[in-house]
């Protein structure tokens, strides 16, 4: 057993309002720089939709992630022989148009335009070439709220039946916020010829060493989530750093901080690094179970001992015990991995969303028969769709999660109306009153400090006395100012 600690984020999609505050806090702090304009380390996608970069989920096109090849895992982009196709040619790289050409407007013309015969405007130009653009054809969120689009939503690979999103009475719309998953089996790390990418031992954060990166871009291709980006100005790969300067000091990530929908949870998971590879050899529909098996019970003394031997501190063990993430991912089994079949073992988990009851539109719009709350099988978002997204196609796994959400609501409604507590509702979905109490707190009245339990890093082994004196003088480099 090789017990390690990992910082993990859970997203409750049932609460996501698709507002993108997360994307902007991230952009303001991390990627508001030349060469990084088009990077959205955190982005939010409308589902069904094609996302950013367009159709990133389609590994037939982009050949990212891993495949189980008999008893081994291999990078999908790598041939059976295990050699990279070419060091200098990246056939599977997304192109600029798959992302978008970053643009800006000539705002100065509004002040500077000479008096004319019609009103002046600020025209659009490319942030890359500086040239005027005839038209804008794409952006990082081009299909926002575009459920029902034959061009975008209908191209979602998770959708069995395109028809349902074309019909007013069956279409649905949800959101999918995404950051780097800081995977346990990261394809980016494995693919880097320069060995510039590494996973931090203390918190599992995956980073691209900006001094070592040579700009090969294999990571960009290999990441099935397309969450490693190439900075065209610095010539290096960059990606979400899980806001390590914040998490190291016990603060949650900027995206989680700014999540006004309060959908994000950040906490510690303990896992057995030795089991990761074997777990990923399981068939697609068993991968959720395999994920859960790798995650260890932080209250188990043998596991805690093994963790201690690996240098996991008492503070981290304490945080792992209280971890909202452990509760949601493993204990109550509500949060699921995004496309586990990419086999990177992503460490971001998603609680699938409920949706309105179906309806039919004849002469008049008619709701499907249902109770106060729509039953599982009457929800608009097809279970198969959610299973494709979050469970390697396993519909039962998704159904079980949604049943728990519905049961929680039904049970709490009784309490809300001062009716006798009906635990049977919970039991039917595999919950009990204690579980309902914990989930209710996590979803509602539990505040920031219950959603985010992040143990600060302890750095006292690293000559803190000297570092304190040198703090702020560690790296003297020219800033962007005054150049």
């Amino acid at each position: 057993m090789d017990v390690r600690a990992q910082l993990v984020m859970v997203f409750n999609l049932d609460k996501c309002i698709g507002c993108h505050a997360c994307s902007i806090s991230c952009k303001n702090i991390w990627t508001d720089r030349k060469g990084a304009e088009y990077m959205w380390w955190n982005n939010v996608e409308t589902k069904p939709g094609v996302g950013y970069p367009k159709k990133w989920e389609d590994q037939k096109v982009f050949k990212g992630g891993w495949v189980a090849d008999g008893k081994n895992l291999r990078l999908r982009a790598m041939g059976k022989g295990g050699t990279l196709l070419s060091m200098f040619f990246q056939p599977n790289m997304p192109k600029l148009e798959d992302y978008y050409e970053p643009f800006d407007f000539d705002y100065g013309n509004l002040y500077g335009a000479k008096e004319g015969n019609d009103q002046p405007v600020a025209e659009v130009f490319s942030q890359i070439s500086g040239e005027k653009m005839a038209e804008i054809k794409g952006g990082p969120n081009w299909d926002d709220d575009l459920s029902g689009s034959p061009l975008y939503a209908a191209e979602d690979i998770n959708l069995d039946d395109r028809k349902i999103i074309e019909e007013y009475d069956t279409m649905f719309m949800q959101y999918l916020p995404r950051i780097c998953n800081h995977c346990l089996n990261p394809a980016c790390v494995a693919s880097c010829p320069s060995r510039a990418i590494y996973k931090r031992g203390e918190d599992g954060v995956v980073l691209v060493d900006q001094n070592v990166c040579k700009g090969w871009r294999f990571c960009t291709s290999a990441c099935p989530y397309k969450k490693v980006y190439f900075n065209w100005n610095s010539g290096k790969a960059e990606k979400c750093i899980f806001c390590f300067p914040r998490t190291e000091t016990g603060q949650c990530n900027a995206c989680a901080h700014s999540c006004v929908g309060r959908i994000r949870y950040v906490g510690v998971l303990l896992y057995d690094a030795e089991q990761v590879e074997q777990a990923l050899l399981k068939p697609d529909d068993q991968l959720v179970e395999a994920h859960r098996a790798v995650i260890l019970d932080p209250r188990d003394e043998s596991i805690r001992d093994a963790a201690r031997k690996n240098g996991v501190s008492e503070q981290w063990l304490e945080a792992a015990e209280k971890s909202p993430v452990y509760a949601l991912v493993k204990e109550f089994g509500l949060a699921l991995p995004l496309h586990p079949e990419f086999r990177t073992m992503p460490m971001a988990y998603y609680i699938p969303s409920l949706s309105p009851v179906l309806s039919t539109l004849g002469d008049t719009h008619e709701l499907a028969e249902h109770g106060t709350f729509p039953a599982l099988e009457k929800l608009r978002a097809p279970i198969g769709y959610l299973a494709s997204l979050l469970a390697g196609g396993n519909r039962e796994v998704v159904a079980s999660v949604l049943a728990k959400l519905i049961a929680l609501r039904g049970y709490m409604r009784g309490r809300n109306l001062n009716e006798p507590a009906d635990e049977a509702i919970l039991k039917g979905a595999g919950l009990d009153e204690a579980a309902a109490g914990r989930l209710y707190r996590l979803f509602t009245i539990g505040g920031h400090d219950e959603r985010n339990i992040i143990p600060p890093q302890q750095r006292e082994e690293q000559d803190p006395h000297t570092r304190k004196g040198a703090s702020g003088f560690g790296i003297l480099k020219k800033t962007g100012r005054g150049r």
Partner: protein, 1190 residues
């Protein structure tokens, strides 16, 4: 992965990681917020690095409510978090700018004229030189100017205007004080000291729900969003909560886990539907039909088939349902008349204000006079204005009857606009009055008949739910598109939830339904379903209307500072819908309302909205500026010259002139020379674009820009009777347009002068909202960049220059006349028992009774600046919503503690610093000074006759000052200025004061009003809640004769902007479609050959939009969505149709004023600023959509 790539801390050189740590470092964090009209009032932490604002993150230190309610953190949305982009962007206004042609003229004129006022006169009184710059507005050609030079020009323009035309030709528009109260107050304080006009916004934006004053006598009072969490059944109707109430929406998503059911009524599958259990795609504009049918079912199943005790008790105590209405016979059937008044009965005729005192009947049929009618509010005898069912004559308890069912019946006619007339039997009684016997019934009995619940009575009642008659589940199908069975299921759930939860039904409503011509009817239908289930005045219940950040928490002291009422009362305030309907000449393009809003007879009633508005002005119902066809200063001089010496004599002289017609109200000749506004200040606003409904009419008539795209015909000639018709309407009415802004938006682009404004991270201010109960600060993280200044400083400079120039031009104090309407919450609301028009000889003109108040006030222009920066002597005498308290002791104390300035031998609190202004406001507000809350309750309890001051007893020590709110958001305390209570961590819910403490609503009956008995409502058959469909597009003069794709044009609020703010911000543009778009249904688009992202042209006779298409089947067929509000400054092409640059969403709109909202002097139909009056409706609008090319 090979585990060697896991780098433990010690296993590799990871010093490079400092790269990102350095990026995260910052020097300082300052708490601020965003001064934008979004109801957010979110507290933000602004991170500053080396003197530069780096980024902002939400504050997360909100005080916790009662622990059973989720906390507020992290409050703040996508748009707010992108604000830092503006500070250093190329869109930022860094310096003062002036239209080139104007600055050339000015410099030239200043060479010729030593005096700046003379110089200004030489430019604007010469048509040629005036046209040289007004005719080039919006066409580019700005030049940088100097602050001193430009302030002098502005000051000169105001003095010239005041002297030649009167100060009421100088106007200012700034909306939504709550978003930055001191910045708002900067301009309005200047204007009110000057005698200028402050324009309303809440009604203009159509954010005001007129149903609220109609039913509750209240502008708007709503649950803070935390209270959604207490609801157990929530219907969203015309409100896309996640999109437009982003920081609040977690309370909605979280209430679901507490077991609340969520139903979303929305024509499109929008973000909110994601959180619905049921989505009801009700036809846009016809939500009212759904609610009418809801009420039919509730009345049938919970009032007729059985009686729910909780509902019955509520109806008797808190509604006008038991009150008696007279039925008058006409053509053999009965018609709904007025409420029976105490004055009509021998027994009660002697009561004070018996004309304004209503009646009920007890269970034995005797008429009784309960306490709480409006008459008790203004009677000399105190203590009877409460909700007790106690007889005013003998003090005996009244066991009031809701219904006369079981006795005599009468045949009553009901008229439904879309469904014709029906005769239905109604239980009646006969009552002997001083004027003979009359037939009466209860509001409840009328309501049952109106809704078609027969209770075994004869007449044209629907047989069952499946008969297609008003207002059954079957009937609503054809308007809403929702199956009767589905509607019935919702109705039963609603009623059941109301009963089981003790009235915790909630409707969250918004602009989606409030912007229709008949919005008041839609709202009244929905409100009825709340009232009938006991769901108003409780936590987790009621009509949660969120449109506009209307709640200025420290209302009274803020009003005093903002309107300079510490120096001068009353204020010169204008309802903007009337103002712009007239002054942007949209009235000239409007036909009589009879075509789309038909009165029964139209007798004694003007039939064109402009004529109706003119009547409303002369009867004192609505204000209007300019007041008269002459200067208000010159009129005083003329009166004096004619021998008038006292104020009364001046007034009498003017009344005589008005009666004879020698002096006229300016509204009667708005296009006449000198009768239009001349100088326009715009700040904190996008007045010419996002706030200009009928934008192209503005460009043409107000601005005079040469690129107006309006092609509408002037159809009013011959149809208007009271307004003078000029064959050629003026173009470019404004002499000068001044805009204070931090960004170059559409309004700035069309202004003459642009003054650089400090951003929200560069100044100190106060901020509050109705969505939460905290008082927040805006504060300076960095100093104002470049040459920008906070609005308070800019208007201080202008005030100072005006005072300097006045030494020559207006050296001594002068008198000014203010024509102020009959106000709500004053005795003016019982001024006009019947409608009588002095101009038609129906009565004598009597100021304050049959016509406006004519107040004489003093203007001291030389000391205008001194007054601006000094707290005036009246500051200690405050009131709001009819509640008052004394605070002279607070004033005395502050004079000792705060910075002071002396002039004219007296010492005053010095208001130069915005932070002092903030502290003055907080010190005088009962919401933030617990002692004053206690005093206010104590005053109110005398009038009400019930103990109230105990509510504030526990918080008398509370004081919140500026320093406090810079440290942490602070929660205000309960005060009688507001109808909700917040004691003990309880979320704010409106009307809990009324329900729990017996304080009447500020209506005629003192109760929630289901019946509106004003005869004008009878004329339009809107006395009871009813349904009227969308206006018929064939009558709107917008698209007649046009073929192709004609769609209902809807402008809901969008995801990537707050109004137009943020819409031009690169962050938002990048995450959206990067400019103006219109959303279409793919089938509609295919019919016109339009593809996604293709350039299109959207037009009607009002104007043209050039933009791109977005196609989605979540948009219903027959509609076009253009999310409010874009700018026309970004990458907009030219129209094929007109050859000119395309406009904005408002290019396609125009306003139509609903005459029943112009009433005055009659109970809750009495004017107050932003409170009552016609609203700027804009949803009944149709457009043609076609490809731009090909």
């Amino acid at each position: 992965m090979s585990r060697e790539r896991i780098h433990d801390d010690h296993s590799a050189d990871r010093s490079w990681e400092e790269f990102y740590r350095n990026r995260w470092q910052y020097d300082k964090v300052v708490r601020s917020t965003h001064g934008v009209n979004c109801t957010g009032s979110c507290s933000w932490m602004v991170h500053v690095k080396d003197g530069i604002v780096g980024w902002e993150l939400q504050a997360k230190d909100y005080p916790q409510f009662d622990g059973s309610i989720p906390n507020h953190e992290p409050r703040g949305c996508t748009r707010g978090i992108s604000y830092s982009w503006y500070l250093y962007s190329p869109l930022r206004v860094k310096y003062p700018y002036v239209r080139g042609a104007l600055i050339d003229l000015w410099r030239e004129a200043r060479k010729r004229h030593a005096d700046p006022v003379d110089a200004w006169a030489s430019i604007v009184e010469n048509p040629e030189s005036r046209k040289a710059y007004t005719g080039k507005r919006g066409m580019g050609g700005f030049r940088r100017g100097e602050w001193d030079e430009i302030v002098e020009l502005i000051a000169a323009s105001t003095i010239h205007t005041a002297k030649k035309y009167g100060p009421d030709r100088v106007i200012g528009f700034t909306p939504i004080p709550a978003m930055s109260m001191i910045s708002y107050a900067a301009g309005t304080r200047f204007l009110q000291l000057f005698g200028g006009v402050c324009m309303s916004f809440y009604d203009w934006y159509c954010d005001l729900p007129p149903a609220s004053p109609q039913v509750w006598g209240e502008q708007t009072d709503v649950n803070e969003s935390a209270d959604w969490y207490n609801a157990s059944y929530i219907v969203l109707c015309g409100s896309n909560v996640p999109m437009t109430r982003t920081p609040d929406s977690h309370f909605l998503t979280e209430a679901r886990y507490r077991g609340a059911k969520v139903v979303v009524m929305s024509p499109d599958y929008n973000i909110a539907t994601k959180f619905a259990d049921n989505w009801l795609p009700v036809e846009q504009g016809h939500d009212g039909a759904f609610w009418m049918a809801m009420n039919h079912v509730i009345l049938k199943e919970c009032y007729a088939d059985r009686q729910v005790p909780f509902f019955q008790e509520y109806a008797r105590k808190y509604t006008d349902l038991p009150f008696l209405v007279k039925l008058e016979e006409k053509d053999g059937v009965l018609k709904q008349g007025e409420f029976l008044r105490a004055a009509e009965l021998e027994r009660s005729a002697g009561l004070e204000h018996a004309d304004w005192t209503l009646c009920v009947a007890n269970d034995t049929g005797e008429v009784r006079i309960p306490k709480g009618s409006l008459g008790s509010r203004w009677s000399k005898e105190e203590g009877n204005w409460n909700l007790d069912m106690t007889d005013l004559v003998d003090g005996a308890p009244i066991d009031c009857s809701l219904s006369f069912l079981g006795g005599e019946t009468g045949r009553v006619r009901f008229r439904f606009e879309a469904d014709g007339d029906v005769i239905r039997e109604v239980p009646v009684r006969r009552v002997t009055t001083k004027n003979g016997d009359v037939t009466v019934t209860t509001v409840f009995d009328l309501l049952m008949a109106q809704f078609g619940v027969s209770r075994g009575l004869g007449g044209d009642y629907p047989k069952d739910y499946n008969s297609d008659k008003p207002f059954t589940p079957k009937w609503q199908e054809k308007y809403t598109g929702i199956a009767a069975a589905s509607m019935l299921k919702i109705a039963r759930e609603w009623a059941e939830n109301g009963e089981k939860s003790s009235g915790r039904n909630m409707i969250i409503v918004g602009a989606g339904i409030n912007h229709w011509y008949h919005n008041d009817l839609i709202y009244r239908a929905a409100i009825t379903s709340l009232i009938l289930t006991g769901s108003v005045g409780r936590n987790g219940a009621g009509l949660a209307h969120y449109v506009g950040q209307e709640k200025v928490v420290p209302l009274a002291p803020w009003t005093s500072i903002a309107m300079a009422q510490d120096w001068v009362k009353p204020s010169r305030l204008q309802n903007t819908p009337s103002f712009w309907y007239i002054h942007s000449d949209q009235w000239r393009y409007d036909r009589t309302f009879v075509d789309y809003f038909k009165p029964e007879t139209g007798e004694n009633m003007p039939l064109h909205a402009a004529d109706m508005n003119a009547k409303a002005v002369r009867l004192g119902w609505l204000p209007f500026a300019p007041h008269f066809n002459d200067s208000t200063l010159r009129l005083v001089e003329a009166a004096k010259a004619a021998g008038a010496q006292t104020d009364d004599e001046i007034r009498a002289w003017l009344v005589g002139r008005l009666k004879s017609g020698d002096t006229r109200f300016a509204i009667e000749d708005p296009d006449g020379a000198g009768n239009s506004p001349k100088v326009w200040f715009i700040w904190r606003a996008n007045a010419i674009s996002a706030s200009a409904k009928g934008h192209e009419f503005f460009l043409k008539h107000v601005i005079g820009a040469p690129n107006a795209n309006c092609t509408a015909k002037e159809v009013a000639k011959g149809q208007v009777k009271d307004l003078v018709w000029h064959d050629k309407a003026p173009e470019g009415k404004m002499d000068l347009v001044v805009d204070l802004n931090f960004r170059m938006d559409t309004s700035t682009l069309y202004s003459d002068i642009v003054l650089p404004a400090a951003t929200w991270y560069e100044k100190s201010d106060l901020n509050s909202t109705d969505m939460h109960s905290f008082v927040n600060c805006m504060d300076a993280a960095v100093p104002p960049s470049w040459e920008s200044k906070p609005d308070w400083k800019t208007f201080s400079l202008i005030a100072k220059k005006v005072s300097e120039l006045s030494a020559k031009h207006l050296p001594t104090p002068v008198k000014d006349i203010i024509a102020a309407p009959l106000l709500h919450d004053t005795p003016g609301e019982i001024a006009q028992r019947t409608v009588k028009d002095w101009k038609l000889g129906e009565c004598e003109p009597v100021p304050g009774k049959t016509m406006p108040n004519l107040a004489i006030v003093e203007r001291d222009y030389v000391n205008l600046y001194n007054r601006f920066v000094s707290v005036g002597p009246q500051m200690g005498h405050l009131s709001a919503h009819g509640v008052s308290w004394e605070a002279d002791d607070v004033h005395e104390k502050l004079l000792q503690e705060m910075p002071t300035r002396s002039w004219n031998g007296r010492s005053f609190i010095d208001l130069e610093d915005e932070k002092v202004v903030a502290d003055v406001i907080l010190s005088f507000a009962p919401e933030t000074n617990g002692e004053l809350a206690w005093r206010a309750y104590r005053n109110l309890e005398k009038r009400v006759g019930k103990p109230l001051s105990e509510i504030a007893a526990g918080s008398r020590d509370l004081r919140i000052n500026w320093e406090d709110i810079t440290q942490k958001p602070r929660r205000f305390v309960s005060t009688p200025v507001w109808s909700g209570l917040v004691n003990n961590g309880r979320p704010y819910a409106p009307y809990t004061l009324n329900v729990e403490h017996g304080v009447p609503w500020r209506t005629l009956s003192g109760r929630q009003s289901l019946y509106l008995d004003h005869p004008y409502y009878g004329q339009f058959h809107e006395g009871l809640p009813t349904f009227k469909p969308k206006l018929n597009p064939a009558l709107l003069d917008e698209t007649e004769g046009e073929t192709g794709l004609v769609l209902n044009f809807l402008t809901p609020h969008g995801k990537w902007s707050i109004h137009s703010t943020y819409s031009d911000n690169l962050r938002m543009l990048t995450l959206s479609r990067a400019g103006q778009v219109v959303w279409l249904n793919p089938e509609d688009a295919a019919g016109a050959g339009i593809e996604d992202n293709e350039p299109i042209e959207v037009y009607n006779f009002n104007g043209v939009v050039v933009c791109r298409a977005v196609l989605s089947s979540r948009i219903p067929k027959g509609t076009a969505f253009m999310y409010h509000a874009p700018e026309r400054t970004l990458n907009i092409g030219k129209s094929n149709r007109t050859g000119k640059r395309g406009g904005v969403h408002n290019s396609l709109s125009r306003i139509r004023l609903k005459p029943t909202l112009m009433l005055g002097g009659y109970a809750q139909f009495s004017y107050y600023f932003n409170y009552w009056g016609p609203t700027g409706v804009n949803r009944d609008c149709y457009v043609v959509v076609r490809k731009l090319r090909g």
